[in-house]
Amino acid sequence: MAKREGTPTSPEPKRNEEPSELLRELVAHLRQNRTQLREEWVVRITETRLLTAMTKEEIFAEATSVYDSYVEALETEAFEALQAYARNLSERIIPRGVETHEVVGIVLLLRDVLARSLFAKYQNDFKKLNRILDAYEPAANRIANTVAVGFVQERERVIRQQQEAIRELSTPVLQVRERLLILPIIGVIDPQRARQLTEQLLRGIRTNRAKVVVIDITGVAAMDVTVANHLVQTVEASRLLGATVIVTGLSPEIAQTLVTIGVDLGKMNTVGDLQGGIEQAERLLGYKVERLAEPRSA
């Protein structure tokens, strides 16, 4: 239990204490008793079996910085700084496998440990205890909230990053020959994926120094106007990078969509199927193309 230190509470409390004065007194108490309170908190963290992914030393190190940030947030009420700290902390501990309930858990434990030390300190002055708690509780709850939100934000950011990586892997831009890229598109494309594909392709053109790109949309059932527009923009942007685009596998439905948005199909390089598109591309690149005789069916 925390020792009562500092000036003993007077039986006759001051009548007009400002909340900020109370907070200052509270912060001073938390700083004075830092060592014991932090120790007590770490004990309770271990008892409750939180942060099991971390070693004792790591818990102690993080506990120290969390404690100090907690007290500083109480003092300065600078919650933006606390949120930035929380995201930073999360960035460190998420890869260690720490979960949301653990982070919320330890912050609530700290809140409780500190609250109990206040009960102990002001136990002889009920009125003052009430006033101190009036100042402490909203601030402490806001801290718990801020840290939890910061952690969750960071977690969501990591998940989005992983999703992005998965999306990139699932639609590779393939280099089949020197200066020739193929982008086979399969399935449903939403505008966000379309935009991502365009950016990936443009980067690929630059990296691979591609002069011809074959975009195969045989596997695409339908395209709304927005996505069709993305396709057109992809063709135009590729040209700005010096690459010619051949679109293959254009279904009659998609052709119609393109015409609807004002695309002159005569100006767009289209070939019926992927094989034909690759041959066309090779011709453009100066390769001699010879189609082998069709195998006789048995």
Binding site: Q153, E156, E199, V225, N229, V232, I261, G262, V263
Partner: protein, 134 residues
Amino acid sequence: MSAGEIRVAINSDQDIVSARQKGRVMANELGFSSGDATLIATAISELARNIVSYARKGQITLKMLNGLNRQGIAVIASDDGPGIADIRQALRDGFSTSGSLGLGLPGVRRLMDEFDITSQPGRGTVVAVKKWRQ
């Protein structure tokens, strides 16, 4: 920690470059990808250009946005110029048109996530656009 809001006076074509460079810096600070920062800088350039071309002077305000779960940037282009008589016409989007005709507002709208415009003949114009970090 830098300013959450920056105002750039737009009086000449030099200010166009200045505004978009500041926009890029702010976008980088907000953690936007390089590609998105380019989109934002390009939008700023077009909006500033409209001010110079049609109103001769005005202001671009760049604001850092702190949403509930996301961050973003707001660009507000305001001027006391002649205003736009037919906003619907100005926003008409022909997908396959080549740019550099008129105000290029449909293009600016495509570059950003949110787009808002207030304008009346004789009352100037305010265009407010936002982009959020993905």
